[in-house]
């Protein structure tokens, strides 16, 4: 047996709310890992909303056909695009496709991260609780073996995304089995811890 607990404390104008959501179930699945640092760069060419060239810092470590995520801030507004396909020529990385926000204007500073994929095995219908957290601004998606995205979640730095089967919020993943978790982070200064964990009512 395994347990999951969400403890919440809200404070506002002198009023405090404290509560706890607890579930006990049969199994868990997930990852607890360090995501490598992203590389700094500039969007040196903007072809369209989902195509461009990132002039990245030397040593970016990205290869042609890798899937990458691009993060930026433009005029104080953050944006990110994930699941883009990379084509590499030296430090110039052509990025194409993916999902998320439209690429920023040309010459905008970005960071680019080679997405990291971790194998898991569970069915979304079996979840009684799920949570994810990354130290840095990041992104995680739950995928089938194809891979096809079942659920994509943008993670604020240091903030937990979570769901519990209270019936008040739609189950985030249903149907097809989750075979892998793919994640990225925006930070270029170092690794970032990523935790993804699901509590399950059946072992896969």
């Amino acid at each position: 047996m395994a347990s999951g607990v969400v403890k919440t404390t809200g404070d506002m104008a002198g009023l405090s709310i404290t509560g706890e959501t607890s579930r006990t179930d049969e199994a868990t699945a997930g990852v607890n890992t360090s995501l490598s640092a992203a590389s700094t760069g500039t969007l040196s060419t903007r072809t369209d909303d989902d195509t461009g060239v990132v002039a990245a810092a030397t040593g970016h470590g990205i290869s042609t056909s890798d899937k990458v995520a691009v993060y930026w801030t433009e005029s104080g507004v953050t944006g990110m695009r994930y699941g883009m396909t990379a084509t590499v020529s030296g430090d110039n990385i052509t990025v194409d496709g993916g999902s998320g926000d439209n690429l920023p204007t040309q010459d905008n500073a970005v960071t680019i991260h080679k997405e990291e994929t971790y194998a898991v095995a569970f069915d979304g219908d079996d979840m009684s609780m799920v949570a994810a957290r990354c130290d840095a601004w990041g992104h995680v998606r739950f995928e089938t073996s194809v891979p096809a995205t079942l659920k994509a979640v943008e993670l604020e730095a240091g903030r937990v995304w979570h769901w519990a089967d209270s019936g008040e919020e739609t189950r985030p993943i249903t149907g097809t089995a989750v075979a892998q978790v793919t994640a990225s982070q925006s930070g270029s200064s170092g690794t970032a811890n990523l935790k993804v964990k699901a509590l399950l009512n059946a072992a896969s």
């Binding site: 919440t8 706890e20 609780m129």
Partner: protein, 201 residues
């Protein structure tokens, strides 16, 4: 603008893996409240007219004609409820009509009937930054627009906070919230607390 602050600390632990976040939410408007919610009264469905009309006989109730009431019962191990029903009272017999939720159960089903507490709210949950609600006993919260139409029906488990935090949860609210209807399912009174921070429309 942006002068209302709240702090939300969340710790999720699954199988020993702990994830903690401390979030400060800032918005243009905020509202918080704490109310005692009266206990429901035990009763029985003595007349079943149709799925949303019937008579509940409940000794000792304090419901008066014109009140809004919520009706709770168990279907096996599942809690069912019909909320926002109109009450017409004749002694211990309370005719209930309308509302929304599950179909009223059969004659002779044991139920509880709760007078709804209406709380003025006046917020814009479509622009919410964070909304945390808590009831220390099982119950229901409905959000209503200023015309009295129910937007969301939220079923609260005892001591499990409802939380809708921008960037973390899906915001399902679609209407301006003028009022809340709150009731408890059992025969023990409860305390309801709500904290809302949001941006102006």
């Amino acid at each position: 603008m942006g002068n209302i602050n709240g702090t939300i600390v969340e710790t999720v632990t699954i199988d020993g893996v702990e994830m903690t976040s401390v979030g400060t939410v800032t918005g243009d408007v905020g509202a918080c409240c704490s109310y005692a919610i009266p206990a429901a009264t035990s009763g029985t469905v003595t007349t079943w007219t149709d799925a949303n009309t019937g008579v509940i006989t409940a000794s000792g109730h304090t419901i008066t004609t014109g009140d809004k009431v919520d009706v709770y019962w168990m279907s096996g191990s599942t809690r069912e409820r019909r909320v926002g029903m109109d009450a017409t009272v004749s002694g211990s017999a309370v005719t209930v009509d309308g509302g929304q939720g599950d179909d009223l159960p059969d004659v002779d089903t044991v139920v509880t009937i709760a007078e709804v507490m209406q709380i003025e709210c006046a917020c814009h949950p479509a622009n919410l930054k964070a909304w945390v609600m808590h009831l220390d006993v099982e119950g229901t919260v409905c959000t209503l627009d200023f015309d009295g139409a129910v937007d969301e029906q939220i079923e609260l488990t005892a001591n499990e906070p409802y939380q809708n935090i921008d960037g973390v949860h899906t915001n399902s609210f679609s209407a301006t919230c003028g009022y809340l209807w709150v009731s408890v399912a059992g025969t023990t009174a409860g305390t309801f607390k709500s904290q809302f921070v949001g941006d102006a429309l």
